[in-house]
Symmetry: none
Subunit: 219 residues, 2 copies
Amino acid sequence: MDDEPEAVELVEFNLKQAGYAVTTAADGAEALKKAHAQPPNLIVLDVMLPEMDGFEACKVLRLDPATAKVPIIMLTAKAAEIDRVLGLELGADDYLTKPFSPRELLLRIKKILARGFLEEKPREQIRFGDLMIDLPRHVASWKGKAIELTATEFKLLVTLAQRAGRVQSRDSLLRDVWEYESAIDTRTVDTHMRRLREKLGPAAKHLDTIRGVGYRFVE
Amino acid sequence: MDDEPEAVELVEFNLKQAGYAVTTAADGAEALKKAHAQPPNLIVLDVMLPEMDGFEACKVLRLDPATAKVPIIMLTAKAAEIDRVLGLELGADDYLTKPFSPRELLLRIKKILARGFLEEKPREQIRFGDLMIDLPRHVASWKGKAIELTATEFKLLVTLAQRAGRVQSRDSLLRDVWEYESAIDTRTVDTHMRRLREKLGPAAKHLDTIRGVGYRFVE
DNA sequence: CCGAATTGTCACAGGGTTGTCACGCAATTG
DNA sequence: CAATTGCGTGACAACCCTGTGACAATTCGG
């Protein structure tokens, strides 16, 4: 996403060399369209773009829910523009002044991706030792062997595992798993915990009971 | 909120000069009404007020959920009153003895606001030396080793630690930990303090008994 | 339409937790 | 120094909480 074709190619080559999947755009409008259609993990944006400049594009990217949280690295030709990048609360995550070395850009990208990936994105797979939970496949397994779980049991396990370490009260579980409004006092949660434990077998050691408080998933 | 009009004006002038938005009240009842309608960030309260004295007003402010957490600075004419301010678990955050300079008051205000705003969000983890209390995990540990606590003991410890340094009366503890309405006079609190101390072992040094008043968590 | 699986509720028992009391000691008061 | 007040302690019974077995209601698939 740059205005100089050869510079774009240079960056693209280097990033692909480093193992990243790269998509390019000739101008701001095209970049926005592509980013919206398939939000990338990171956007490198040049301030000087035909049609729509980088500042404007950045603003639009931030307003679009699809791309609002995608990290953005801005490329500026003049050092003076840095102030605008940082000062105007554009939401750019980092910036680089031209000319820059591809290696420099790579370092910045790695840094931001490392930060972002570790904190954000709900994992599609959760692993604790020999226990694996695959959300999209809706399957849990112990030492590679699948565990047959009903829909409710699976949701309960996922809810506990996603907040691993944290104690969850019965009320909170009824809200998150059963989507109940009011906290009815029944043994529903306990019963399902029992069934879940039975089916998990040795993996049930991850499920702790905190008397008087609730349940907790531990490593 | 003072009983001497000219003193009120002096304080008001100085605070506005310093950039704060100030609202005044002629007596305790009016102060309570205004504070409830639009809770301020901080309240300066004179002990000597017509209609309702500062002690009473302070108590009411603490009971009202809307103002329960608003910092309060008490102004007292006599040094002897300080004991009541601090000892009776009124919940005043600081006090000043008359006569005082506006500059002195400003300093206290700044100090309290700085503290309050920085610690705004209730911390999820509380550390005092080798003692660590993890609220979401519902775990307390000493030098990395977990301490087995019952639900009540844990809540008692958290309540004390969160108001570290302040004395908590048995009544106040019964309200916060046990959620009792009336203050039943039993040895309940004492018994649980004993059990908590036993389990804490060396960490029990943080738990002070203030004879005739209550308990306090110290560093 | 029927049978199997899933799911929510209930009663009950065991054991940990908790509130209360009596008692003794230490600190405070006069 | 004696009396008083307040706190720590040990013991204990009642209670609360959780796990469990059972069962009916519901859903789902054949």
